[in-house]
Amino acid sequence: MSWVDSSLNGQVIALQLKAERAELIAGNIANSDTPNYKSRDIDFRTEFERRISSEAGGALRQTSSLHMAPEGARSSHVEYKEDGAGEDGNTVEAEREQTLYTKNAIQYQVSLQFLNSKIRGLKLALKGE
């Protein structure tokens, strides 16, 4: 892994995770009227730490296409919300999901901002002005 990779890696993983969360929460909002639907989410901190450690080589790696994929190496661990089910067994609370979605969108932009400053820093270092 080159030094450019390693300096950007954390922010890139954070961005990916936030995009995944946006997708999950959008699914929750879309399914707010689906009977028996359980609200889904990922825990950012645990997922982030898991990805960071697997990228750093701490986890199993596939060195041949014949190898089995290590359990859950790519896909995130999705958690289901079981409490607060209404009469139809749906656990989506629309207001809560909307707040989560907005919060996540802001956090995504924060990550973008950080990534941009990193790139700017790298450019500056390369130019040496």
């Binding site: 879309a30 889904r40 896909s75 932009q109 973008l112």
Partner: protein, 137 residues
């Protein structure tokens, strides 16, 4: 990039809510239709949604789809109208079991849901547009 699948999810929700609005319009339109027997009276229809999981592109998105409609099996409203040509032997006609107030509330819910999903897609669009300009400033 998984932000793109937000559009797929949002679009599925828009389709589902549109379907729901259609069914509600149908119910409201037929609310006052009279029939000569309880069996012939219009029965309120209710859409049932289901979630669809497609893992084709490795996305974890849960889309929504219409599973079908169920009809309201409550008894129709009977109304005494002996002058009505389709009234039965006792002078009754039978009107739908649609509760207009309930339908109106359901309609507002559907339209709110629609708006929310559009908002979700707009936010995803903004985020993607910003992502495209990474490293340009």
């Amino acid at each position: 990039m998984s932000l793109e699948s937000v559009f797929g999810v949002g679009q599925s929700a828009l389709t589902a809510q549109t379907y729901r609005l259609n069914v509600i319009a149908e119910n409201l339109a037929n609310a006052e239709v009279a029939a000569g027997s309880p069996e012939e009276a219009y029965k309120g229809q209710y859409p049932v949604f289901k979630s669809v999981f497609s893992e084709i592109d490795g996305s974890m998105a849960m889309k929504v789809a219409v599973d079908g409609t169920v009809s309201d099996e409550r008894a129709p409203r009977s109304s005494y109208e002996p002058g009505n040509p389709i009234a039965d032997a006792n002078g009754f006609v039978y009107k739908s079991n649609v509760n207009s107030v309930q339908e109106m509330a359901s309609m507002m819910e559907a339209s709110r849901s629609y708006q929310t999903n559009i908002e979700v897609m707009n936010t995803a669009k903004d985020l993607l547009m910003r992502t495209l300009t990474i490293g340009q400033q």
